[in-house]
């Protein structure tokens, strides 16, 4: 499982760093790593996978921003949020995943902007919100496909998926 998600994170990071060079997407590049963190939180909630979510955030930190640990923190929060959200709604379906990813991107982006600018950029968040919402929507729309791919890959390598889509 960890190996599978490590590989998926690597692919996601390559995509996220390459896509902006190929397409003028800016902030609108889907946050694939966040989808993976939500997937872990909803369908594979264990201590080890929480650590995996942290490691994924750390990997994002290596390729983004100036504050090492910021994305590690935010992705761990998203992991916990996804776990809590799915347990609250008693479902791990793709629809719940879409909602969790949508809110997760908003939390992650706003947290990223606020923390990295030392709360000084708070007054500029209203300018950033449209782009954040669009990125959240784009990422949320891709969630079922990513869930399907990770589920398919897990089944292919013979892994059991806890709480598969009900």
């Amino acid at each position: 499982m960890l190996l599978l998600f490590s590989l998926a994170t690597f692919v996601a990071l390559v995509l996220q760093t390459m896509l902006p060079r190929l397409l003028p997407l800016g902030i609108l590049v889907p946050d694939f790593v966040l989808i993976l963190a939500v997937d872990l939180g909803m369908r594979h909630p264990r201590a080890l996978t929480a650590l995996m979510a942290f490691a994924m955030g750390y990997a994002v930190d290596a390729l983004s921003g100036v504050n090492l640990g910021l994305n590690a923190l935010l992705l761990t929060i998203v992991f916990v949020f996804a776990y809590w959200f799915s347990r609250m709604l008693i479902s791990t379906s793709a629809a719940i995943g879409v909602m969790a990813v949508f809110f997760g991107v908003i939390v992650s982006d706003l947290g990223n902007s606020l923390i990295s600018s030392g709360l000084a950029g708070g007054h500029r968040l209203n300018a950033l919100m449209p782009a954040v919402l669009i990125q959240a929507a784009v990422t949320a729309l891709l969630t079922p496909a990513v869930f399907y791919l990770t589920g398919w890959a897990a089944r292919t390598v013979g892994l059991r998926i806890d709480g598969a889509s009900r």
Binding site: Q16, T17, L25, I27, V66, N71, N112, L125, A127, L128
Partner: protein
């Protein structure tokens, strides 16, 4: 039966032995037959010609098709080669410009390719193809032929990351080339550059060129940062709100130059 056959054979031998004159009566049926057969033969001949032509054309077409495919492949190869050559020419031109810039600055520098962007899109960083094996170090200035790009914030063995001046965590000491008004150029969350801490009494106008002051010890003096886009004197603050249009479009960057010689901060001159 045997008799009839024998007679016919004899007739034939007779005709052969004595020859048949063109106007001979025995020749007439053959001529009629010839006339009767002629149209059929013509049609048949035409059909044969057509068939032959069709087959010939078919084979010719097959050849033409093959040749066409071959020529298309050649054309595609030549076009790809042409594009590659154009790209190489542009890259060569760009590298030559970078080399000129390096010579003009009189500093040692390393050229690097831009290979990736920020993984989240929220920060403004770029990934470079060179690392500490090539002599890069954290904090080095990164420039392009158009002006200042940023500084290195992380360097691995084979790659490095640049914090662009348009990132909200970035700051560089700059001045107005015309009025010499000083300020700190920084990025903002949404996008773009602002020049902070410019005194309200300073003479600064839209269109003015903003260059590095060299006082931060990172960027050499006089490198282009951008031009003043908008000035706002509203509000009660002590400083002007100066928006700067960056000289470098980071989305278009392909090669950059990393200055490996640190710029020493100029000595502070005591007034009076």
């Amino acid at each position: 039966m045997v008799l009839t056959t024998g007679l016919l054979l004899l007739l034939a031998l007779h005709l052969l032995a004595n020859g048949v004159a063109p106007q001979a009566r025995v020749n007439k049926p053959s001529l009629v037959l010839m006339d009767a057969v002629k149209p059929l033969l013509e049609v048949e001949s035409q059909m044969a010609d057509d068939a032959s032509g069709f087959l010939h054309n078919y084979f010719a077409l097959v050849e033409v098709r093959e040749e066409n495919l071959r020529l298309k492949q050649q054309l595609a190869q030549l076009e790809a080669q042409q594009r590659r050559m154009a790209e190489l020419e542009a890259e060569n031109h760009h590298l030559a410009n970078l080399l000129d810039l390096r010579e003009a600055l009189g500093m040692t520098a390393i050229a690097a390719n831009v290979i990736g962007e920020d993984a989240t899109g929220l920060s403004r960083t770029l990934m470079l193809s060179e690392g500490d094996r090539q002599g890069l170090q954290r904090g080095m200035a990164v420039i392009s032929v158009d002006g200042v790009v940023g500084k290195l914030i992380a360097v691995s063995h084979e790659a490095a990351r640049v914090l662009l001046i348009s990132d909200h965590n970035s700051a560089l000491d700059a001045l107005d080339e015309r009025s010499r008004a000083r300020g700190i150029v920084s990025g903002i969350v949404e996008d773009g550059l602002v020049m902070k801490y410019v005194d309200r009494s300073e003479d600064i106008r839209p269109g003015d060129t903003i260059v590095t002051s060299g006082l931060d010890g990172i960027f050499p003096r006089g490198l282009l940062v951008g031009t003043v886009a908008h000035i706002s004197r509203e509000g009660p603050g002590l400083f002007l709100n100066v928006e700067v249009k960056a000289a470098v479009d980071s989305r278009q960057l392909e090669q950059v130059m990393v200055l490996t010689t640190r710029q020493p901060a100029p000595p502070v001159q005591a007034n009076g």
